[in-house]
């Protein structure tokens, strides 16, 4: 029971990280039909920016440094993503493969630059003491970082839903996912929605970068890419363009991965890919059911 509770919560924490990456990817894809390979680079660059900021604020208490790191990561993620959209994606309007290729190049270049600048070894990261402590949940000693990650992701999920369902921009984004040509025909500037969605996706990826550093206790240049691949799986299983679908799929993928990895390392990762194959065979459109 204790083990099950621990695995469940750790799996939920992992799912929360996947969700933060996948939500942006899914919206970007839904609205712009761009497969954003640079999302892993947003994650990595933001995490290293946050880590550097926390180091620069050496004298401050650990908790403040952590907050600074998160804030810097979110801002850097959003700015990096906005610049990517404006400078690299926009000139390639309507060339979808070209857009994918540009993000691939950006991802390769930035991650190797981070690796050159900071080294490929994991860097440790100081956490406030209450985070490294554990909380007793139904008999299991769950590290507080897991609970924190889950809470933040739930908050982001709520904010995203509020944005999509209750704001004017959210309405445009939802309508654009549904039928972009029609939205344009009605005289609405979809271009601004593109930039906004990219900025939101980048901010969420930056947040995920710092939260992953909190979750694992370290940052390293390769994590963005490896998490991105599972985020892709989450996006497909959840149904492209659906934030709620991504949330459900992220939980399913995170929990399954964590449970099976407990019995044999690697089996969980493998099973997730198997799950993807099964979902594709029976529901090619993913959980949310659209077939595009």
């Amino acid at each position: 029971m204790t083990t099950i509770a621990l695995l469940l919560i750790t799996g939920l924490g992992l799912g929360a990280l996947y969700f933060l990456i996948a939500a942006g990817l899914s919206l970007i894809w839904g609205l712009m039909r761009v497969l954003n390979f640079a999302h892993g680079a947003f994650f990595t660059v933001a995490a290293y920016a946050g880590w550097s900021a926390a180091n620069a604020a050496g004298g401050a208490p650990v908790g403040v440094r952590w907050l600074i790191a998160v804030l810097v990561a979110v801002i850097v993620g959003a700015v990096f993503a906005t610049l990517t959209e404006v400078l690299l994606i926009r000139p390639l309007y309507a060339r979808h493969v070209g857009q994918v290729l540009v993000t691939v190049g950006l991802s390769l270049a930035t991650i190797s630059l981070v690796q050159g600048g900071f080294g490929s070894d994991p860097q440790t990261f100081a956490l406030p003491s209450w985070m490294t402590a554990t909380t007793n949940v139904i008999g299991a000693n769950v590290p507080n970082t897991r609970l924190l990650v889950i809470a933040v992701a739930a908050l982001v999920f709520a904010l995203l839903l509020f944005f999509l369902r209750r704001t004017r921009f959210g309405l445009i984004v939802r309508a654009g996912v549904e039928n972009r040509a029609m939205v344009q025909a009605l005289g609405i500037d979809v271009q601004r929605a593109f930039t906004l969605v990219f900025a939101i996706g980048g901010a969420a990826a930056g947040l995920a970068g710092m939260l992953a550093a909190t979750y694992y206790g370290t940052i390293d240049p390769g994590r963005g890419t490896s998490m991105l691949i599972f985020a892709f799986i989450v996006v497909i299983i959840g149904g492209l363009g659906s934030v709620t679908g991504s949330a459900v799929a992220a939980i399913v993928v995170g929990v399954i991965q964590q449970f099976l990895n407990y019995y044999a390392t690697g089996i969980g990762d493998f099973s997730v890919v198997l799950l993807l194959a099964i979902v594709l065979l029976f529901r090619p459109g993913g959980f949310s059911g659209t077939t595009t």
Partner: protein
């Protein structure tokens, strides 16, 4: 054109007998083992880029899992030779069977998706392969350390520095054979259907052909040829390393093909050869004193080959959409052939 190719083949085939040095381009004499090994790798990557261009450039399938099939050739052969101590022909036979069945099964699933979802799914399967290799199941793959071929696992003619030239010739033959098969394939009736699918899949369907089967055929052929290049890579390197299973490796393939020019056979070969050569020379450049003495702001980017190649890649995609091949063709006209 044909005469030029014939001359090039003869020159490269005779290279192991030429003791000349070309300073600045290659370290050491042309027939030295180091240079021959580098050239062999260039040929292998030229052939590999060609197999990738077959699915990406000719059928329009943006696969992010091509590394998996290259790695199949590398690892299945390496395991059969080094772990099970099979003879080379038996190992090759097993590899050939796996190299058809694996892409057939995975392609059948992946091709249920189109465009970008297809790309994501192929990436996921390749990642599963990478995880499998890293996990070292039953001690077969050697995990992160890879799998070295011992001297006794191969015929004597393929082992040792002295025999580098034999493996070099093998790589040259591989490139020629893969090129010939690819050329034959894209100019055959199914090859024309592939290109039609790239241009307009729905129309092909309306004309009464089943695009799914044609795509699967191209996918399996390309994967099989990629496995064949993997086998030669294994012989050149003398072992398997998990690097070739990673997503980054597939992305490198993509860079090669786009660098050379999507949708032309010789463009892809050019891209593969150039990429491998640059990758090798840029590492050497990073270790020269001129670069080492630079301030960190300049030194760090210059000593990361992947950074330079990534930037070059972005510039090409933004400003030279047809890659180097496309640029050359625009300059020298249609004499170079290939589809527009």
């Amino acid at each position: 054109m044909a005469i030029g190719v014939a001359v090039a083949i003869v020159v490269f085939a005779a290279l192991p007998f030429a003791g000349i040095t070309i300073p600045g381009i290659f370290d050491g004499p042309l027939n030295g083992p180091g240079t021959l090994n580098l050239l062999g790798l260039c040929f292998v990557f030229g052939a590999l880029a060609l197999t990738y261009d077959l699915v990406f450039g000719y059928v329009g399938l943006l696969s992010f899992g091509h590394a998996l099939y290259f790695a199949t050739g590398v690892y299945v052969t390496a395991i059969a030779l080094a772990r099970w101590h099979w003879s080379l022909p038996a190992a090759l036979a097993l590899t050939a069977v796996v190299s058809v069945l694996l892409p057939l099964a995975l392609g059948a699933i992946c091709l249920r998706m189109r465009d970008i979802p297809f790309a994501m799914v192929t990436l996921a399967f390749a990642q599963a392969g990478s995880i499998l290799v890293m996990q070292n199941p039953f001690g077969l793959t050697g995990g992160e350390e890879g799998l070295a071929l011992g001297g006794d696992t191969l015929p004597a003619a393929l082992v040792g520095v002295v025999n580098t030239r034999n493996v070099y010739w093998m790589a040259l033959v591989l490139l020629i054979v893969v090129y010939a098969i690819a050329w034959r394939a894209v100019n055959s009736p199914p090859g024309r259907v592939w290109q039609a699918i790239r241009e307009n899949e729905r129309r092909v369907n309306v004309l009464g052909l089943n695009p799914y089967l044609y795509k699967l055929g191209a996918f399996v052929l390309s994967a099989f040829l990629a496995s064949a290049t993997g086998v030669v890579y294994l012989l050149l390197q003398g072992g398997a390393n998990p690097q070739v299973t990673t997503a980054d490796f597939t992305l490198a393939l993509l860079v090669m093909v786009v660098l050379g020019g999507v949708g032309t056979l010789w463009g892809a070969v050019l891209g593969g050869v150039l990429y491998e050569y640059l990758d090798f020379r840029l590492i050497a450049l990073a270790n020269t004193t001129g670069v080492k003495d630079l301030p960190a702001l300049l030194r760090v980017p210059l000593s990361e080959p992947l950074f330079l190649l990534g930037v070059l890649f972005i510039v090409l995609v933004l400003f030279v959409p047809g890659g180097l091949g496309g640029a050359l063709r625009r300059r020298f006209g249609a004499a170079l052939g290939g589809s527009p």
